[in-house]
Each structure stands twice: as C-alpha cells, then as structure tokens.
Amino acid sequence: MTQINVRVDGVSYSDDVEPRTLLVHHLREQLGKVGTVVGCDTSNCGACTVHLDGVAVKSCTVLAVQADGSEVTTIEGLAQNGTLHPMQKAFHDSHGLQCGFCTPGMIMASIDLLTENPSPSETEIREGIEGNLCRCTGYQNIVRAVQQAAAEMSGTQDRTVGNGHVSLAVVDTAAAPHVAGAQS
C-alpha cells in the first residue's frame, strides 16, 4: 500500500492504495466518485475520461499512485454552484446523449478538445473525440453539442461553426396536421 494525496473535484483526499490500483477504481471504489464509469478494459472507449491537472486522461490508463499530488476533475465537479458547464448544457440542448453511459467521458473529452482548439470544424470535432465511443447517438448530436459549446465558450452565438450542420431534420407535416398541433 502506498499513500497518495489527490484533490478531486475540489476536495482533498489522502488514501492508501495498492500499487496496481487504477485511478478510475480509486475514484469509484474508494472515493465514491461513481459518476465516472468504466466501459472497457483496453483503453478504447473513453467512458472513464477525467481531467488530470487540467488535461483529459483515460483514468483507466493511469495508476492511482501516478495521480499523487495532482488535481482531478470529474464530471461530478464540472457544474459550479449549481450552474452547468456550457458543455453539459450543450449536450442537454442538442440531445447529445441517450443512455448517458458514455456522456461523462464524452463531456470531459470535448472540453479538453475545445481547450486545444476553441473553434473546431466538424471534422476536427469528429477526430478530436475519436477516442470516446458512443453506441447510442451516432455522434451527430454530440458534434452539434460541441459546436454549440464552442460558440458559447468563445462568446459568439454563431452555431454554424466550421463545416457544421446544426439543423434538425426536416419534418414534413403536411400529411399530419396533428403533429403541428391542429388535432383536437
């Protein structure tokens, strides 16, 4: 057992960990930070993504002892005083999640992407989150969410960043008045 000191979501923790313990297991099992999840055992899915000293890492590929003396931000520490981070809000606004299992990692990775590239094109977004798998959304609304957050975080409200597509599907309601609300 090795003692480590880690600050997680603004709280300092001092714990004994086994040398083999992964950061994600330390977060989940010792600190109860179960908002961060595990989706694979080969570092492919990104579900476990957190920020380690401000940079996105897959916490299943970091040993807990390597985080000694570091600052970790998880999905649980993102909202400030009850206000959602613009990326969280954007995922909600754009329907960038369905089951939500990939979402914590996806949000953390997307924030990191915008830190490096504040106004990415659609292609840059797709490539930037390539290390995070989502089985539900087909990614289109995740891309839309990142575009919205990029616009919001850089202070512009232009949601058509880069080569992006932001519009919802065309719904032809001609044959169905009840969809538009005409049905009694």
Partner: protein, 830 residues
C-alpha cells in the same frame, strides 16, 4: 387552504410534436446516475466467473481448492454445486412443436459448448480478490470436435455440437404463402418464371456492444430477494428467475436502475443473473457481479449470423412474381430467451414493400460451438430487409433496369393501404413514393448520378456509387394473439397506471423499461396533453417490479406504440373518473361538462370550472364526493395492439470506393422515414442517428470473428470495431407522416428503423460504384481488404476469419438467369 401549487408552466397548446429536451438528462450529464455497478451494500460480496477457454469439451475435473484458500475468498461454486437448483436458461419461443432445446445450465456441469461459458464462480470480499482467484481454479477438459461452420454443421456426418441430441439442427420453420392462403404456389411460379436470380448472402455475426457492461446486484432480505440488473426486461426477468430457480415470484423484486444501452443485448435472462441469485441465496449475503468488456463481448449474446439463400422470380418487364428464402440461422451453442424467434421475426418481412404473388420462407436453426445468438437491434428484420433490398438490385442488374424503377414498379401504391402482403401481414399506412422523392432531394441525387458518370468515364481511381433501401418493418411487438399463433411464451400487451397526487402532481407508472430512449420525457408529453397538466408536473416511474408491477418491457420498437398507448388510455380513464367528481362539485350534469386544457367547464356557464388538479385534491379529501363513487380518480390501462405498425422509409447512400486501396467512404447519406405521429422530434431524430450508426457499422466495420478452435478473436474493442465519430458521416434526415391507425397516438415505432434500413443501402452503394469492374457482391463488413480483393481478384472479398470457421466459407455468389433445379435446393447456383 389549497395544497395545489401554481402550475410551473402554462402548457403549450400541445406537447406532442414538441422537441422537448429530455428530463432524464439532468442526472446523466452531471454524473449522478445510478448504474447497477455503482451500488454498494453493507457486507456485499463480489463475484467473478471462471470461464471456459475451450469451445467444446467434457469437464473431467474442477479443482477449486487453491481458489478457496486464496485471501478474501468466501466461497467457490461449480456447476455441480448448483446442478439441482439452477434449472436451464429459459427459451420462451419454441418456434416449432418439435424444436430441439439441448438445455442451458447457467454454470456448465458435464460439458462446455462455447468459449466463455461459465464453469465456476468465486465469491470474495473484493472484486480484485475474486478476479485473482479465477486464475487458481483448475479445470481439466477432455476436448471434443468443434462445430463452427453452419453449412458444415447441417451436412451429412457432421460433428455434433451437443452429443446428446441427434443433429445440429434445432428447428426447421416454414412459411408458405400458397399453403397459408396468402399467395399462389411458389414452386409453380419459379417453374414458369422468365427470370430467376439467386444469391447467397451472409449476415455476419455481430455483438450488441451496449456501452454499459452488464452488472447484477442481489440483496437477500429474509426469504425475499431484490435484484438490480442492467437489463431491458425487469418484468420478464423476474418471472423467468422464479420459473428457473423455483424462487416464488412474489418473493422476488427486480429493479432495472439506469441502464446504459441494450439494443437487444440486454433482452435476456443471463446465466450471470441466475448465478448471482443462487449465490446470494446460498450465502445469505448481498452479492455483485460486474463484467469486464472482454467478458461482455465473449459471453453476452451475439446477434445476426445467418446465411441466406434467396431466389427471386420475375418477368422480363420487371414485375416480380415470387420470392423464395432459405435461411440458416446460427443459434450458437444454446437457445437463449428468444434465440429461435429472431429469424422468425424476419420471416414475414422478406417481401418488403413489394407485391409478390408468391412467397416461401424456410429457416433452419443450427447449433454451433459459439456464443448463443439472440436479439440485436432489428432482430430478424434487418436480415430480411438486407436480403430483399440486395436481391432487388441484383434483379435490376439482370433486367438492365434502373434499381429505383424496378422498385417503383413493384411497391405498394399509397392508395392501396391497408395492404395484405404475400406474407400475410396487413401493412397499415404509408407513401413509398413520397418518402423516396424527398430522400432523392435530400441526397442531391441528380448531381451525384452525374458525378458518377463523369468518374466512370474518366476512369477515376475513386468511383462513386448510389445505393437504395426502400424498406418497411414491423414494430410495436406485439398483438398477443399473433404471438400465441407463433408459439411465443408470453403476450405482447403493455400496462400503465396514472396516480393523481393530492397536490395535483401526476405519477405515471409504465411497464416499459427505458434504457436511453427518453420515456420519462415522451410519456410526460403524452400525459400533459391528455390531462392538460404541465409537462413538469408529471413524473414517470419504471423499471422496478414493485413500483411497476405489470409490464413487458422495452424491445422491438414497442414502447411508445404499445406502452405509450396504455399511458394514453389510462389518462382517458382518469379524465372519465374526474368528470363524475367535477359534475358533482360543479352541480352540473356530466353531459354538460367540457374538458379542455386540464379543466372541466360547464357549457354555457362562464366561470364554473374545476381543474383536474383541484379534483385530485378533492378526491384525496373525499369530504364532498358523489354518492356511491369510490374516492379515487387513479386509473390503470393495459393495451394489446390488434396489429403491428409498419414504419417505412427510403434510405439513399452515396459511396466513394477507392479502387486502388479498397477504401470505402460514405460521401452522403440521406433518409426519409415515416414513423407515424412524432411525439418528440428531438428524440426521434436521435433514434434515427443511432440506428443508422449501427446499420452502417454492420455494412462497414463490425464482425465477430472466431478462429478454427472456436476462440473469439474480436474479443476486445481493439478488434471489434464499434465505430467512432470519425468513422461515420453526417446524416441528412427527413420524415413523412402517415399515422398508424392501430394505436391512439398514431406512432409506428422508431427504435430500430435506422438499423434495419441502412445496411443494404450502404452495400448497394458500394456495389454500384464498382459493378462495372465486374464485382457483383462484397461480403460484409466491407473492409478495404475485401473490397480490394473483390475488385482485383474477383469473388466477394472472401473470409476474414480463419478459413472454414465463421460459417461463411462455402458457396460463391453468382448469378445465372434460369429455372430452378434440384441442384439449387440450398443455394442459388444457377
């Protein structure tokens, strides 16, 4: 005093049709979700499963002594320890009266039949201790011949997958339109046909690969057991656990907390769920089992895996005359919950949207020493859609017709609904031409065809192709009477109840069990409209057999169509009950009351109103209540549909194929779906995207590959290619709306459409790009290697698996027009 708060918002004119943002997001975007694996109970033990490393063997001996001595290990159990009480994993769908079910122990007792099968389970203080001890269990296996290739498995003198049954065939299911009276004699039609095209298609094995790995927690309390499981089907699970383990049903409670995706993969009663219950019973302690991704890919059920021999008959003008489908469907080593039913769900969809006079379907379920197959998004219908949409293209080539023209000539006209097909299904509504026109516009069809011509003329190394899929599917599983006629072990109804709380808030209890579909939001919209209460005042409860005692859960695009309909009907009953109370309180006749925007008003008496939320409080108090009326306006409803619903649509894919490298890239993808009434466009859109991703992934990326010994060689996310954002295109989507007449909402179901429709559109597009180079088929997934081989070496690109293993080795695909011969009995070799 009033306990009724001011409504949080004024309800919009109608909630249905609004892109409401989802209620469930709040917890999911902040990490406050309750996944099963998050649960920790006092004294909880952790389970780890010891799995077979061999595909087929007798278990000679299991030595658990070293594991039992390991630090932190409480107990180790083998199949022998549970042989008396574990029963068999249930198969609820005996598709034929003589179907062979070899039995499926949760922990193997005598023999193992696939790699990854459970042979022992460790219970330990920590997960790490349990996993460490797995290595210490010593099993002696006497290996047996391994059966992997379906065509070899049904040949004479084949090795047996289970030596206590006579053959590797589980069942042979036949539907013949001539015999059923829904069509003419198929054999005669083929004998008389001017043109016959035959093909052999391979539906590769896929893995559902939900992102949340499966997990189970069981808590014993006296003789009661509560199970939390990442399941799509808590109600079915409870019933089946009771039947399998003999635990009385009323002593079992099953909870599906937040569930991270399913796609059919969690429509199951798993060995691990049974094992967890048995260990908790034996030890009297709470237990948790949570799988790793590798375990999940290897042991959670797989999907698809069929070989399809398809014959189509037509005249020279392109009028289709008959369709004959012979299917080999890989069950894997065992029958799970609905394994045999999966190909049967497709049996009635092979005719697609076309007016075939004759149709015959034969399917043989085959055992192999591989992970069992079962539901995966679409379940039988993607296979059917692929076959018909691919063979229509092949027929068009044979006839030298435009593939869209051929489809148009044969599809059901908008004015012909309701239309009964040769498969005997009555399609409800739609307009195939309308959807197609819109899809062509979305794609920019004419320009792309022009570009295709240019590239072809200039012999561009990158060729362009355009592929269609004009599809329909059956959703809303299912009319109970139809399920009964197909020997399914349960009904297809769904249940809902609505509880009017004293403060005017509303609890909606649904038997559907969402795992990403947004029921909390969509059901709130339905109820807000029906009761005229604010969207925010509605809470939707689901996924717990104690809270929602009756239900048949979520799969088969059934939740809104069947479960939502039950909710709407329950709300109508609430209004009817409240009307009596309102009449009493307003001192008016019921007939004089109008209900609108949540309030009863007396016709012709301005100001005399009572809101349904006020009536809820008056009902709670029950001080002033009509004589002889019980003080409750709560209501239940159970909805059993009379027919399936039939979403349809046109999907068009434009594909670039690099003839020098074999690399394919989707240039543009457009689809127009008709899913009936749209309750929430945002959610529908998301379902379309997700379905497309999975359907495209079948065409381009995913394949579960076994080696010659029966090892899954795509056992991690390194090898099993779930696509990333960079692997998928932007989708251009649109809708037409023809409401379903069969339910009060008019919805048709959207959960599976994208996945069902997209796969053939993608493959047809790739073939359209390179057909002039002599390529007539490429095996899925279209890896660069396969595409390159098909272009440069002929054939269909060949096997990615070790030769002779993945069941895809046999006949070549080829086309010859002509008449059926005996030689074509199991394949189109004409």
């Amino acid at each position: 005093m009033t306990m009724v708060e001011e409504p949080a918002t004024t309800a919009p004119a109608r909630e249905v049709g609004q892109s409401r943002k989802r209620k469930e997001d709040a917890r999911l975007i902040t990490g406050k979700t309750t996944w099963t694996d998050n649960m920790v109970l006092p004294g909880m033990l952790h389970l780890a499963v010891v799995r077979s490393p061999v595909a087929h063997a007798k278990i000679a001996n299991v030595d658990v002594s070293a594991a039992q001595q390991a630090p932190g290990v409480i107990a180790v159990f083998t199949g022998r320890d549970f042989a008396e009480e574990q029963g068999s994993i249930p198969c609820a769908w005996p598709v034929t009266p003589d179907m062979v079910n070899p039995g499926h122990p949760s922990i193997a007792v005598e023999e193992v039949n696939h790699v990854g099968e459970a042979v022992a389970v460790i219970a330990a203080r920590s997960k790490a201790a349990a996993m460490d001890a797995v290595e210490l269990v010593d099993v002696d296996y006497d290996q047996l011949p391994v059966v992997l290739d379906m065509e070899a498995a049904v040949a004479e003198e084949a090795d047996l997958c289970h030596d206590h049954v006579e053959s590797n065939e589980s069942f042979a299911f036949v539907f013949d339109a001539g015999e059923a009276g829904t069509g003419v004699d198929t054999e005669q039609v083929f004998a008389d046909a001017e043109v016959v095209v035959s093909r052999r298609f391979v539906q590769q094995r896929l893995i559902p690969a939900f992102m949340e790995p499966r997990a189970v927690v069981v808590q014993p309390q006296g003789d009661n057991y509560t199970m939390w499981s990442s399941t799509q089907v808590p109600h079915i699970l409870r019933l089946m656990l009771a039947m399998v383990t003999g635990t009385p049903e009323h002593k079992l409670r099953v909870i599906a907390p937040d569930v991270g995706g399913g796609f059919g993969g969690k429509l199951q009663v798993t060995p691990e769920e049974v094992i967890s219950l048995l260990v908790a019973k034996r030890l009297g302690k709470p237990v948790k089992w949570a799988e790793t991704r590798s375990e999940s890919l290897m042991s959670a059920h797989h999907g698809r895996d069929q070989i399809q021999y398809i014959d189509i008959a037509a005249d020279r003008e392109g009028n289709v005359k008959g369709l004959r489908c012979r299917i080999l469907s890989d069950m894997g080593a065992y029958l799970r919950l609905v394994s045999p039913g999966i190909p049967i769900l497709g049996a009635f969809m092979y005719v697609g949207i076309y007016k075939f006079p004759a149709y015959r379907f034969e399917c043989r379920g085959v055992f192999t020493n591989k992970t069992p197959t079962d539901a995966y998004r679409g379940a039988g219908r993607p296979e059917a859609t692929f076959a018909i949409e691919r063979i229509m293209d092949e027929l068009a080539v044979e006839l030298d017709m435009d593939p869209l023209e051929l489809r148009r000539k044969n599809w059901i006209g908008a004015e012909e609904f309701p239309f009964t097909t040769a498969a005997g299904l009555e399609y409800d509504s739609g307009d195939y031409e309308g959807a197609t026109q819109q899809a062509l516009q979305l794609l920019g069809y004419d320009e792309l065809r022009e570009e295709q011509r240019r590239r072809r003329e200039s012999n561009d190394p990158v060729q362009l192709g355009i592929g269609f899929s004009t599809f329909t599917e059956m959703c809303g599983l299912a009319p109970s009477r139809v399920l009964g006629s197909l020997s399914y072990g349960a009904g297809g109804w769904e249940h809902a109840s609505i509880r009017m709380l004293p403060t005017g808030k509303v609890e909606v209890v649904t038997g559907s069990s969402a795992h990403g579909q947004g029921h909390e939001t969509a059901w709130s919209q339905l109820v807000a409209d029906e009761l005229g209460v604010p969207f925010e005042d509605v809470e939707v409860l689901h996924g717990d057999t104690s809270i929602s005692p009756r239900g048949l859960d979520t799969y088969g695009s059934r939740s809104l169509v069947v479960g939502g309909a039950a909710v709407v009907n329950a709300a109508a009953k609430v209004v009817a009950k409240a009307r009596k109370v309102a009449a009493h309180l307003l001192e008016a006749s019921e007939d004089d009351l109008e209900f609108a925007n949540g309030s009863f008003a007396v016709r012709g008496t301005p100001g005399a109103t009572k809101s349904i939320q006020e009536i809820a409080l008056a009902t709670f108090a029950a001080h002033d209540f009509p004589e002889g009326v019980e003080p409750s306006i709560d209501a239940d409803a159970t909805f059993d549909p009379v027919n399936f619903s039939f979403p349809h649509g046109t999907h068009v894919c434009a594909m670039e194929v690099d003839t020098e490298t074999g690399r394919v890239e989707i240039r543009k993808y457009a689809c127009v779906d008709d899913v009936g009434t749209i309750v929430n466009p945002l959610i529908v859109e998301g379902q379309v995207h997700g379905g497309l991703a999975q359907g495209i992934a079948q065409a381009l990326y995913e394949e579960a590959v076994y080696d010659a010994d029966g090892n899954l060689t795509t056992g991690t996310f390194v090898d099993y290619l779930v696509p990333s954002a960079a692997d998928l295109p932007h989708f251009e989507t649109g809708h037409t709306v023809h409401p379903a007449p069969g339910n009060p909402i008019g919805a048709k179901g959207i959960g599976e459409a994208g996945c069902i429709a997209s796969t053939p559109a993608v493959v047809n597009a790739a073939l359209d790009a390179v057909r002039h180079l002599g390529v007539s088929d490429i095996r899925m997934p279209l890896t660069p290697e396969r595409v390159w081989r098909a272009i440069h070496q002929g054939g269909d690109g060949g096997d990615r698996a070790t030769a002779g293993t993945n069941a895809y080795g046999g006949a070549q695909t080829e086309t010859t027009a002509g008449v059926a011969t005996d030689a074509s009995a199991l394949g189109g070799d004409r």
